[in-house]
Symmetry: C2
Subunit: 540 residues, 2 copies
């Protein structure tokens, strides 16, 4: 029943320069300059320019473009893509005629051209933006409820695994995925990645064992990289994966740095870091579905300071013309989410016992969307962060969702091939993902743009929807009882407002209609865990 998505996307964008462009067919403004004559809104116009190969094109040359439409003027940095090919990418946000000018130190004069922006393709609603303080919406106004997962280096596995992952993602209903640009070194992650971001050679990984791999974490010995020369194939491949996700309606939450490293990528100099951040911004900003996660577990990158993170953020703010969502993910200590460049919280729970339960505190503290990017993983590995039950994962989802936050999924089941969803993608083995998809369907049925916690009894969670104006919609209530098992609950409304009551079994994924009630009424419940009650103003 699955389309062969990966294959399609790989076919579409792999190979020669002609195929690397994101819109067909190509115009040619002059010898050695290629671009598309028309491109859908929120898709990518890629202007390819031939230029010098000698010396170090990554550091010695600069190319930039300016794109002019009736409603916007966008300046975009270009980058060297190898083999004498320089690219400038642009994501148009409006339909109609555009013209552009490309300037580079190696061009005697600006290259110019024009193209037409067509209506967005079906399913492309534009980049995700913050809506009403705590929520999200696509640029076209469609509400977006992030229900995502994490597969740290799924895109650095072999083609068949990538294809398997994309098929799993399509079935799963996830609409966001977090993953890394750099490869990952950690338990269950000792193999070589399919490619490296730099020219050079890695340390000999045959010395690694499950016992000694810790000793190599953060070390640079044995690696030989030229941190001034990127490997464009590494990035092109990731871009194909981002594009494939985009076609599935999935946001790509790109983790730009992370500490689980044996190659020295986490310990570069300030100049090397800045070169990397500029390159990443120039390559990925034009993808409508990109989010920036400055780091996974930033606080474990012991060589980086707050000044470094703030500088990286500044690069993104200056070099990403589309202002994609930006955050940074903690291990122990939260980054200061109140910093203006942080668009939303990207939280790893800080306690063993409470995670989702703290959502409303975090909402109030930061007044930004609260995305709980790690609330432990459903699984059975030896580490406490990776062995909760499906039931507990789903419970955390509902706890967070009904407090107006956005919990995210992950899975770590032992596997003879050491293919764990959390890092490698592949196939989902747990029980929670289906229930997460069910929750997404409940959220998408809800009016407004997101849920707001409401004053409630001490032993329940209650929320109401919120409009983009901030107004609360008081004709709709969702109550959640978590691990508690009430056999009934009493409700007190005024006599004049009839509500249709439904009992939602969040684990068995059923919605049972209980009738229409008003005033003081009782809703019978099955005395099981994980039940919710939905009250919606009845149409009379």
């Amino acid at each position: 029943m699955m389309e062969n998505i990966a294959e399609k996307s790989l076919e579409r964008s792999s190979g020669e320069i002609r195929k690397m462009s994101f819109a067909e067919p190509h115009e040619r403004s002059s010898a050695g300059v290629h671009f598309a004559s028309q491109v859908p809104k929120w898709d990518i116009q890629e202007v390819a320019v031939c230029g010098p190969r000698e010396g170090n094109p990554f550091t010695e040359h600069r190319i930039r473009g300016c794109f002019y439409g009736k409603n916007e003027t966008v300046e975009a940095e270009g980058f060297y893509d190898g083999e004498g090919r320089y690219l400038v990418r642009f994501m148009p946000s409006f339909e109609g005629e555009y013209r552009f000018e490309i300037r580079a130190d190696f061009l005697k004069e600006a290259e110019r051209g024009s193209f037409r922006v067509l209506p967005a393709e079906a399913g492309n609603h534009g980049p995700v933006r913050v809506a009403d303080t705590w929520h999200f919406a696509f640029e076209d106004g469609t509400p977006y409820y992030p229900v995502g997962t994490t597969c740290y280096v799924w895109e650095l596995q072999d083609d068949s695994r990538i294809e398997e992952t994309l098929a799993s993602l399509k079935e799963s209903g996830f609409n966001k995925i977090r993953f890394c640009i750099f490869p990952k070194h950690y338990d269950y992650n000792l193999k070589e990645p399919r490619s490296y971001p730099y020219e050079g050679t890695p340390m000999d990984s045959s010395v690694l064992t499950k016992e000694n791999f810790w000793q190599y974490a953060g070390k640079t010995e044995g690696n030989h990289w030229d941190f001034t020369r990127f490997n464009p194939a590494h990035f092109r491949h990731i871009e194909r994966c981002v594009a494939a996700l985009g076609r599935l309606g999935i946001e790509a939450d790109l983790i730009v740095m992370h500490p689980y490293d044996r190659w020295g990528f986490s310990g570069m100099t300030k100049e090397q870091d800045d070169l990397y951040w500029n390159y990443v911004a120039a390559r990925f900003s034009a993808f409508h579905n990109v989010w920036w996660s400055l780091a996974n577990e930033y606080d474990l990158l012991k060589k980086k300071t707050t000044e470094d993170w703030e500088r990286y953020a500044q690069i993104l703010c200056e070099k990403d013309p589309y202002l994609h969502l930006r955050s940074i993910h903690n291990c122990a200590s939260f980054y200061d989410y109140s910093r203006p460049w942080v668009t939303h919280c990207s939280i790893q729970r800080q306690e063993l016992y409470r995670s989702a339960e703290l959502t409303d505190e975090w909402r109030e503290r930061y007044r930004k969307p609260v995305v709980l990017d790690e609330i432990a993983y459903e699984g059975n590995i030896q580490y406490g962060w990776g062995n909760i039950t499906g039931e507990e994962m789903v419970r955390r989802f509902w706890e967070a969702a009904c407090r107006g936050g956005y919990p995210q999924h992950g899975e770590t089941f032992l596997n003879p091939d050491e293919v764990l969803w959390w890092s490698h993608g592949g196939t989902l083995h747990g029980e929670s993902w289906k229930r997460v998809r069910f929750l997404r369907s409940i959220l998408e049925e809800t009016p407004g743009c997101g849920l707001a916690p409401r004053r409630r009894e001490w032993d329940e969670v209650c929320c109401v929807p919120q409009r983009e104006t901030g107004e609360r919609i008081c004709s709709y209530y969702l109550f959640y009882y978590s691990f508690m098992r009430p056999s009934f609950r009493d409700f007190y409304f005024d006599e004049d407002t009839p509500f249709e009551a439904e009992v939602i079994d969040t684990w068995n994924m059923t919605v049972e209609k209980k009738g229409v009630f008003s005033g003081h009424f009782r809703v019978e419940l099955p005395g099981r865990q994980y039940m919710a009650v939905r009250l919606r103003k009845a149409e009379l």
Copy 2:
């Protein structure tokens, strides 16, 4: 399989004055004075004196005794027991010869007598005392691990229910029970109690419904009590129940005041309160198995101040010669457990999500035994405090126990007759009590006097036993994994110390031997929740 315990105890102690005494046969020092010629250690010598019936004997007369043995001299207050009968009770703590003197305003001269104290009866280890800061032991040195339950007014039900409760308690393995001297008014508790503590008549309870009972809470209208005249039958009956518990090896954690009242017992004057506290102390102090719980949910008794509680505590300190354990139980705010008269914490959890998990913080804060007297009830009633699963109850038990605390049980299952264990006793319907009994057996197999939390990984709980000297016994480790499901765990000890490893399934109540290991070793686990690992130094 159950002995008819209640009947036996009722038969033994009900009826005439002769049978109310706790030791047989009776001596007579003079006309109208009765006592036992011999009494086992930690049992009760009760001296009965005939006195005036006219006026108000509860307020107008005072009787006291002084008991002299080789190793102790004890002054004990007596009390009026109705029908011209005045009693002075004494619990001897040593074997051998004793003599006594009884003085009363209505006696021209002291009544004197002597008796012999025999060895304690089998199973009577004396009162429970605090041992090694955080733990308990009986006075004879036997470690005591409180594994209790709550049945607030089990003793105020009819005889057959009481008998059923005692049989359930015997099977359950609980060794402590919390219950109230005053009757209880609350949802599921609207019937009349079997007796009242005062002379008078109660309000008409036929007006009460499940909807309106809240309105009567704390009200006094319709009640007609003489708060200066106790109903001795009420107290005698409770004493029989305390004695029956004692014979089962169960401590009686007596709740002296509580807020769930429609009779006005929670709203008496200072003088009336003091009369009550003195009467209670005089009647119950000589029972070896009494603990004092000054109140259930003291903070809901809005008319009582800290000064009141401190004064009640002072009465107990002065009038209970045996210094039984004393605490006070909260609803929301803890009482100041650092007060010198508080022997141990009697905690109701303050959060919906964490309870047992905070045990080590409370241990450190108060440096007293941490008894978690309410961590929610296994059940399915509508209130969030009364509808957790058996699994979650048992999880909280292990979490607290492995942090060196003492979690306690409760059960609230809906029942057509509204007989809920939590208030009425009866029969246990849940799944947790058997696992609690299993935990008690694990604790009683443990060397030392209690468990002390040990430095541990962030995702496990670990403890070692502690001797009465405070010394930690490092040849024994208990690890608990709670809701996490590790498929294995690695342990690092020195190569010279072999440990026998066992996997304890705390829910299925199995102990599986895994072999003897030393140095770095791995213990395989079944990847299920609620597992523990016990490591004990192997005998070579």
